[in-house]
Symmetry: C2
Subunit: 339 residues, 2 copies
């Protein structure tokens, strides 16, 4: 056990792409545990693209991070001390906690997990927030039908790879868009996508989409936005559905992006586009977790993780998301599980 | 009865705003009626913004008009001769027919109407295609709830004024956006909208919207697109709904319009945007017509028409739509009902 609590603070709000100067590693004492609280040692923390939005001081679906405070996100940790009757020392929990070695929690929004049921890291990925995002966005908004074509951007990310695999389970033709040959090979060879397009090396994404989607596009699950989405929207079928999950291409722009207006495409095809956040479906998360865990157990959903070691490397792991370095879920391993 | 059949042909495809040179009045013989057909004398014809799309040679939800053929659209006419057992001389019918004095029809897509139940012109407006567009777009996509705020652009057009009145019936706060003081007065004084904004004279549409929508926007029924929509989207509440009906601001642009990307606004608010065309709800039109006619009869929906006289003036009436000259439904009176 380290004698101090290392914490990553946000010390400056980024304009455009963040870099090292926006983050600072601080050392503090390990916090005291009061009545009703638990002390949690961080094992893994999750870095996710949506966090970029919280680093700016703008209204969104989650409030901005505060300056000169510890960053927060999904964490799997071990209960080291408990003064809360719902938890005991040794419990493994998942929750929204700090980018730090030790967190104190009231227990609210903290969920005990079964380390035998799935690997700990899966609770931050395929059966955690990204998996649920894929599950509800695709099934509740995209409503894929057998034989339809589903295109997913950011296909080799934590959300995208679950989207594509659920669409395969539902009997769809699945086309992924991703940004490296390693990712393309993974989608085609490991996950059995029907087609995959490398947007970084393609000479003509329109031509590639035309070949990949001979029957047009019925569902476009969008993690990316920008030019890639502009290209996909040209192939919408009548009554297409577009779950808008993220727009990673825009998160680091210094001013609002402009592009072709998309409304006429939606009108001409009677298509529907809907933004969402996983918490919109919070009441139904338990059923999503059960189903995802079953599919993982049955080998119908595979997953991949990219794990960086060391809390001090969390900012770099986060920044790597925007360089497309991660295949699957990007995690930071903070400590060994020493039970 | 005129001895010839005057017809308005499309003789050149407009790039940008159409003008006189794209249309030509032709004189032909009155067509012969064959077995199974009816001859219809045009009484009123409807000019509608969507027709601009059909004048270009691009794929859309309806095929383009053919060059050097008569233009077509909604018509109310009188059966002059029938060799079809479903119609007889003197019947009043509504259907998609030509911009001409006389049309021949097989009877398919031709509907007999009751001239006692509503004025003939209403079948091209409030209980016709525009009324049904308002009804299904607002109720099936917008799903307005009591107490919510509904904003409608193109509010003083044939569709917009029905949208606003149905939203009032549903107990909503209704805000209209239109382009003349005459229209604004009509919305406020005659249709009891809660607020109305003149986009042509406002100094700051954002500030006006902030005052008009103190509780944000739950439903935005969009007939217009462009800058006006950009402004409204800033006020979306969580889970807002945006029926996309038309984008009249864009129909005459010579190249695709660009603007701020709207996807992040939709994600931040979990909002839904859906294009549609009235025929998407064709199976349910009868119930829509019954309800609209009842509301008109009960005085709960008022309507207004702008009627130009003379077939030769149909192109000008059509072009006037893009100058915002019409209050309510724009019609062309072609002949008197002489029964």
């Amino acid at each position: 056990m380290t004698a101090t609590n290392r914490q990553i603070f946000l010390i400056e709000r980024p304009q455009g792409m963040p870099d090292d100067r926006h983050f600072k590693l601080i050392e503090s004492p390990i916090p005291d545990v009061e009545d009703g609280q638990v002390l949690i040692r961080t094992l893994y923390l999750s870095v996710d693209p949506y966090m970029r939005g919280r680093m700016s001081d703008v209204k969104s679906y989650v409030p901005p991070y505060k300056l000169n405070e510890v960053l927060t996100g999904g964490v799997v940790g071990e209960v080291m001390e408990s003064r809360n009757q719902n938890f005991q020392r040794g419990d493994i929990v998942v929750g929204m906690l700090g980018w730090q070695d030790y967190s104190v929690s009231s227990g609210q929004y903290l969920t005990k997990i079964d380390p035998e049921a799935a690997p700990l890291t899966a609770y931050l990925g395929v059966v955690g927030m990204p998996g649920l995002t894929a599950y509800f966005g695709l099934l509740e908004i995209g409503k894929p039908q057998p034989g339809e074509t589903v295109v997913v951007s950011g296909a080799a990310g934590a959300v995208g790879m679950v989207v594509g695999q659920i669409a395969k389970i539902k009997g769809c033709r699945v086309v992924g868009i991703a940004g490296s040959e390693k990712k393309i090979s993974y989608l085609l060879d490991e996950l059995s996508f029907d087609a995959a397009i490398n947007y970084k090396t393609t000479k003509n994404i329109q031509a590639d989409l035309e070949i990949a989607c001979p029957n047009g596009v019925d569902v476009y699950f969008d993690n990316v936005g920008g030019d890639i989405s502009d290209a996909v929207l040209r192939f919408l079928n009548h009554q297409a559905r577009i779950p808008l999950c993220g727009q990673i291409s825009m998160y680091n722009l210094e001013k609002p992006d402009i592009g072709p207006r998309i409304t006429t495409s939606l009108i001409k095809t009677s298509s529907m586009m809907k933004g969402f956040i996983v918490s919109d479906y919070a009441a139904e998360h338990p059923r999503g977790i059960v189903q995802l865990a079953q599919w993982v157990k049955d080998g119908k959903i595979k997953y991949h993780e990219t794990i960086v070691e060391g809390l001090e490397n969390a900012p770099e792991a986060f920044l790597g998301l925007f360089r497309g370095e991660n295949l699957g879920k990007q995690l930071v391993k903070v400590a060994n599980d020493v039970r």
